[in-house]
């Protein structure tokens, strides 16, 4: 039991662990009133408000109907759900957010699951079997994480079409799996480096082959890392726009593309509906961030590799 607790901590890179450790006893000793602290809090509050301004705008505008520019910053006079309805079902020939959300779930879930398993296998091998040049191979894989996808997009487009992969969900699943390999491999490799060697070695002494060691010993240990990777891949595939733009269209694409055409595709400037759509499109990843923030930050910090 205690072991699984230490392991679940080890799944997160060291940086995020320190971010989330409970505050130690070095808290500021209260010497009565403290000007420094007051200034600090005032500054923090100011920035909090600034960061939240876009959220305020988003929410109030989504509930407004037929408001004029002079009312832009005020609360709605009558709260209306019209924008939400319009965004969900589509209007004036623009893509609907509702069905696009469904398609996004159908694309993101398989993509996240497949990339996690690939990443776990790679991470296991690269951390445990030091074949010649294993580090070089690892670095070469990592490089894929940093390339601008613009630099492969033209031939990629030709290949994906050449393979006959249908545009929309199938193409996007494939692309998120392929280009997710570097980051998922990195997260799992760093995790397996932190798993006690003896655990895996003892399985090998038992005569278990590599595959059965992986399935019987390593996989069950990997749950915390799977959570980090699943969340990471879920969020990045959900929020992806570049691949969606090149490899899908309004009627088979994910929610980012639908939102993009809704907001910019017309001259309507119907901000209310696009704002309602933006909220719908963001809620899933925001919920994940709020509920599982620790794991989200875990992925974020591994993305930065190490300084």
């Amino acid at each position: 039991m205690s072991q699984s607790a230490t392991l679940s901590k080890a799944a997160l890179p060291a940086e995020s662990k320190t971010l989330y450790d409970p505050a130690p006893a070095v808290r500021h000793k209260g010497k009565g009133f403290n000007w420094g602290r007051l200034v600090r809090y005032l500054l923090l509050l100011f920035f909090l408000v600034v960061v939240l301004i876009p959220v305020y705008v988003l929410v109030i505008t989504s509930f407004k109907e037929g408001a004029t520019a002079s009312q832009a910053w005020y609360l709605p006079e009558n709260w209306s759900l019209e924008n939400w309805k319009a965004a969900w079902m589509g209007y004036k020939g623009l893509p609907a957010i509702g069905p696009a959300l469904g398609r996004t779930v159908g694309m993101v879930v398989p993509a996240a699951i497949i990339s996690s398993f690939l990443g776990s296998m790679n991470g296991f091998v690269l951390s445990r079997w030091r074949f010649p040049y294993a580090n070089v191979v690892f670095t070469l894989i990592l490089f894929g994480m940093f390339i601008p996808y613009q630099s492969v997009m033209v031939p990629l487009y030709q290949i994906v079409h050449g393979l006959g992969l249908p545009a929309g969900t199938p193409s996007l699943i494939f692309l998120h799996v392929v280009y997710g390999i570097p980051i998922t491999t990195l997260i799992f490799r760093n995790y397996y480096e932190s798993v006690p060697h003896e655990l895996i070695e003892s399985a090998r002494v038992d005569g278990a082959g590599m595959l059965s060691t992986y399935a019987r010993v390593v996989l069950p240990l990997s749950v915390p890392s799977f959570v980090v990777v699943l969340i990471w891949q879920f969020t990045s595939a959900w929020n992806d726009f570049l691949f969606a733009l090149f490899f899908s269209s309004g009627n088979n694409g994910p929610v980012t593309l639908a939102l993009y055409s809704m907001a910019g595709g017309s001259m309507l400037q119907d901000y209310g509906a696009s704002m309602a759509g933006a909220i719908m499109a963001s809620l899933p990843t925001l919920l994940v961030y709020i509920l599982l923030g620790k794991y989200f930050v875990g992925g974020l910090m591994s993305g930065s590799v190490k300084g």
Binding site: N122, F146, S304, G307
Partner: protein, 299 residues
Amino acid sequence: MPKKLKRYGPPLLLISPSLVLVGVFVYALIIANFQTSLTDISSAPQTTGLAPHRIVWFENYINLFKSDAFQHSLKNLVLYTVTFLAGTMFLGFLWAWLLEKRDRFEGIFRTVFLFPMAVSSVAAGVIWRWLLNSNQGVRASGLNRLFQMLHLDFLQNNWWNNNSIGIMAIAMAAIWQLSGYVMALFLAGFRGIPDELREAARVDGASEWKLYRHVLFPQLSPVALSALIIIGHMSLKAFDLIVSISKPANYQTKVPAVDMYIFKSQYYYASAAAVGVILLAFVLVLIVPYLVRMAKKEK
């Protein structure tokens, strides 16, 4: 040999699918893209091989760099990157410093500062498109309207709708999105400094400011370097936010990544590929030293 095969065979088999995929979809495609950039493919029949194409070597690059439009994109990219880097580094560092003490409510501030990262750039673009609306006077909404309400009318401006510096308005939205990330990096840096260092400085009678200036800040320079590299390479790839706030066809806010999309959709595959190569070259300058340094550390 068979012994080696037995030892390394199964693990290699297990990672071979990934190796093949990365080999093809990263490395082979980079080469294929480079080849395309040396051709004259610039029409629909040529893209499908129905019409012949020929090799023109570096003509596409020369034409790009000679064109005013692409120079404008490069200038925009520089402006965007400088603004974005300066803003995120400043705010990220400041927020981390303010939160470093682990006061009460630290978690709330941290969560709020970081949340824009969980939102897609397209959704962020919807809001910022509204905030950065260039209408002024009675028709003003967004930030311009807010300035009027605060009696700061002189601050009203065109935002992104300005040919020379409009891209900096979009960088503001990017700063909103990513300062929290830089904060998380710096915060991790602060927390990674051993407590003994602080204690020793306090024992020596260093004032709070001196403690930061001479003891803690210098410890953060590796973090600052990583942050600069990561944010810098993100900036080179910037696309989603720009086209969501402005539009791909808008000259004001064009950057190379946007050019690439436009070229591709107009069947100028050769030019699209050349822009891709140029972007890759920029990223390589930043990332290769970083990866090499990291690989050396591992050993």
